[in-house]
Every structure is written in structure tokens, then in C-alpha cells.
Amino acid sequence: MSPTDLDHQAFQESVGLYVLDALPTDEREAFERHLRSCDTCAAEVRSFRSAADALPYALPQVDPPSALRARVLAAAGHPLSGRAAGPDAGRAPAFSIWQSRIGWLSAAALLVVSVGVSGYALTLRQRVGGLELQLQDAIARVTRSEQQLATATASAARAEVRLAVITAPDLAQVALAGQPPSPRATGRAFWSRTRGLMFAASNLPPLPSNRIYQFWVVTATSAISSGWTFRPDESGRAAELFATAPDIPPPVAMAVTIEPEGGVPAPTGDKVLVGTTQ
């Protein structure tokens, strides 16, 4: 093994450290001396450096304050610095130089330029077209996400109300039993005068067409239902939240009937579930 090979092995470990500027001065100087005679290490420095150069791209990007642009340009003695920062700001002087030279250009040269420019414009248009497609796609995705978020928010809100009801200090529970046409049906209502009513049922028979289930709070004088209609899922289950007025008279019972679609102001159809309050 030649001395250079030995050198190389010893220095190989320093390549990354050198690129990241993590070598102390003496080691850095020694490595730089080696670098002058070792093509392998030099090539590796270049390839590592391109990897290290990419690191800042992963940072959160922050816009510099707008005043900084004017400061930077003023420091370079640029007259633009006093003007508004816009894409076309400061083009005028360059253009006037062009105008003075235009006399030189033959018609043929102008044609070449214009062909080149329209080719460039075409490329730009294609690019813009591609970007617009990407933007539309991005907007569509954002819209979908927003819809999902709205759905999730709504279901979270419902879950919150459910939780509020079943943890209410004035919670009353009513067990509802299946009536003769559907004895297997069962239901349970959780009612809080202050927070509302939660109702869950299972084994509900499928509804005839144009019919719907309606929930009733039965008081000593009447049966209350503010459009509390629902449809069970395919397995005959239902879970509903109903907002009850805090001033309803004390319920004596709760019931579910089958009613025409849209609901009715007073019960008319078969009772499916009935339960009395203690």
C-alpha cells in the first residue's frame, strides 16, 4: 500500500466534516493539503457539497422584510433602490440602450429575435398551462380536504353533544320496549332537561315505503315531537340527537311510532317502542 493510499484512508473520514465545516483549523489545513493531491477525495468533496447545499431547502421558508430589498440595492449603489419593488421596476434604462442600438439591427436580425421570442413565449405559455393544471389540482385537493374537515367537525360536534348529554347532572334514562308488531326492538333514551336528548335503538323493523320513524316525548297532557324523525340503518340500528326545549312539562313516557314521511304534529301510526319514566 502506497503512502498516498494510507493518507487517503485516514482522510476519507474527514470529507464530510470538511464539507460541513466541522473540522478544527489544524485538521482542516491538513485535509486541504491532502486534497490537492487526491482526486478521489476532491471528487467526494464535490458530491458531498451538493448534498449539503440542498439542506437549506428543507427549512421553513420566511420572506425577508420588504425594506431589506431596498437596503441591499442601495448598498450596491443601484438607483432602483428608491423605487417600488415590482417585476418591471427599473427596466427603463436598459430598454433605452436597446432603442439606441435598434438602428443597427437589420430587419432579418429583428425577425430572428422575434422568432426566438415567440418560441420562448410559447414555452412560457406551455409552462404556465402546466402550472395552472397543477394549481387546479391543488385547489381541488384543498376543497376536498375542507369538506372532509367540515364533516369531521360536524361529527365531532355531535359526539360532543352526546357526551354532554350522557354526562349531564340531570340525566334521566328511559328504556323503551318493543311493542306487539316488533317485540324484538329495543331502545334507550338519555334525556337532560338542560342539554337535550340522545336516543339509540336496535332491531327496528324496516320501514314501509313513504313511512318514517318519529320519536315522541309524552307528557301528562300531550305528545311532543319537533320533527324528531329518523331512519334506522340496514341492520335496524339508529342513534339520534334531539334538541329538547328546556321548559317542556315533565315526561311520563317516551315512544316511537311509524308515521308518514316528513313527520306529523301528533302521533297517528303504530307504536313500535314505548317506555315510561319512573
Binding site: Q12, E13, S14, V15, G16, L17, V19, L20, D21, A22, L23, P24, R46, S47, F48, R49, S50, A51, A52, D53, A54, L55, P56, Y57, A58, L59, P60, Q61, V62, D63, P64, P65, L68, R69, R71, V72, L73, A75, A76, G77, H78, P79, L80, A85, P87, A89, G90, R91, P93, A94, G130, L131, Q134, L135
Partner: protein, 196 residues
């Protein structure tokens, strides 16, 4: 995907930059303004990450563009792309300030900086360029084992030497050296596909 890659490559080292640099070398102030509009955000973000202080980061940006203005004629394009040159200047100036600051520790303003780190983009085009490039690099970084990534970031953003990194990570010096080498090798290979 190919479009995104094309966009990413264009952002990394564009012929437009080379042309701008030539104009800057001739003293064209408009070209400096263009260069600023294209890259100031990246330079500022890097300086802010290293220094965690807005005023200091602004000073670094100003120094970098002043240096680019003065040295454009001397800068040889063969040394790598223009953004890399600007980033190298920014990082070394920021690290210099950071090291000088360590001698006299100052109050940290990182909370304030974090609050200012809202992700605003100047244009749709820039945003797409950024998104592609940033996603790629973040993905490559995320793929690294934690120790490799931390060692690299401590060197790059905190300007620590290998011995300081070993102390900070409570690892033997040899381990730190190996981890940095392995990490950079992996980053290089992951980014090689798309970074010119």
C-alpha cells in the same frame, strides 16, 4: 412527476442565473434586483435558522448580495451553481456571527423567530418549485437515522466542530465522524436522482 423534476432542476442551477450573473458582472443593477427576487427568501431563511435573530439575518442577506455584486466578475461558474455560491456565503457569514456570539452569549429570540416563520410564498410558480425541492430534501432527511441527521444539522446549522458535536450528542468522536459520513453518503445518493 417529470414536470416537477424539471421544475426542481431549473430551480437548482438555472441558465437564467448564469445570465443574471454575467449582467451583474457588467454592473447591471437590475440584474442584482432579479437575483435578489429569486433567491433572497432562501438566503434569509437559512440565515434566520442559523442566527435566530431577524436583524442579524437581514445583515447577512445584505452582506451576501453585496459580495455577489462585488465579486460576480471573479466568480467562475465552473465552481458550481450560483445558488450554492450564495448559500455558502450566507452560511459561512452566519456561522461566523454565531461563533462570535458564543463568546458573549446573548438572549435567545427563538420564540420570536418561530412566530415570524409563517410560510408565505411570493408566487404560485415559486411555491411549486419550493414544494418539489423542499419535499425531496425533507424526505431524504427524514430517511436518515436520527443520530446521523442530528450530527449533520449540528454541524451545518450550529457551526459546531466534530468534537463539539460529540460532546453535545454524548457520543464518542469516532462514532460522530462515522455517522456524518454515512449520513452525507445517504443524502447524496437520495438526492442524486434529481439534483444536478
Amino acid at each position: 412527476m417529470w414536470l416537477l423534476l424539471a421544475v426542481v432542476q431549473r430551480a437548482a442551477g438555472s441558465p437564467a442565473d448564469q445570465f443574471t450573473l454575467e449582467r451583474i458582472a457588467r454592473g447591471d443593477g437590475d440584474a442584482l434586483a432579479e437575483l435578489y427576487d429569486r433567491h433572497a427568501r432562501l438566503i434569509y431563511s437559512l440565515a434566520l435558522r442559523i442566527l435566530r435573530d431577524q436583524a442579524d439575518a437581514e445583515d447577512v442577506v445584505q452582506e451576501v448580495f453585496s459580495q455577489a455584486w462585488r465579486q460576480a466578475a471573479r466568480y467562475s461558474a465552473g465552481r458550481g451553481n450560483l445558488v450554492a455560491w450564495l448559500l455558502t456565503m450566507a452560511r459561512s457569514r452566519a456561522i461566523d456571527r454565531l461563533r462570535a456570539r458564543r463568546v458573549r452569549p446573548s438572549s435567545s429570540t427563538s420564540e420570536q423567530v418561530l412566530a415570524a416563520m409563517k410560510d408565505e410564498a411570493p408566487s404560485v410558480e415559486m411555491r411549486l418549485e419550493w414544494a418539489g425541492r423542499a419535499a425531496q430534501v425533507r424526505q431524504a432527511l427524514d430517511a436518515l437515522p436520527l443520530l446521523q441527521r442530528m450530527a449533520i444539522e449540528l454541524a451545518f446549522y450550529e457551526g459546531l466542530t466534530h468534537a463539539e458535536i460529540a460532546e453535545r450528542l454524548e457520543q464518542p468522536l469516532g462514532t460522530v465522524k462515522t455517522r456524518i459520513r454515512q449520513g452525507l453518503l445517504k443524502l447524496r445518493d437520495q438526492l442524486a436522482g434529481a439534483v444536478p
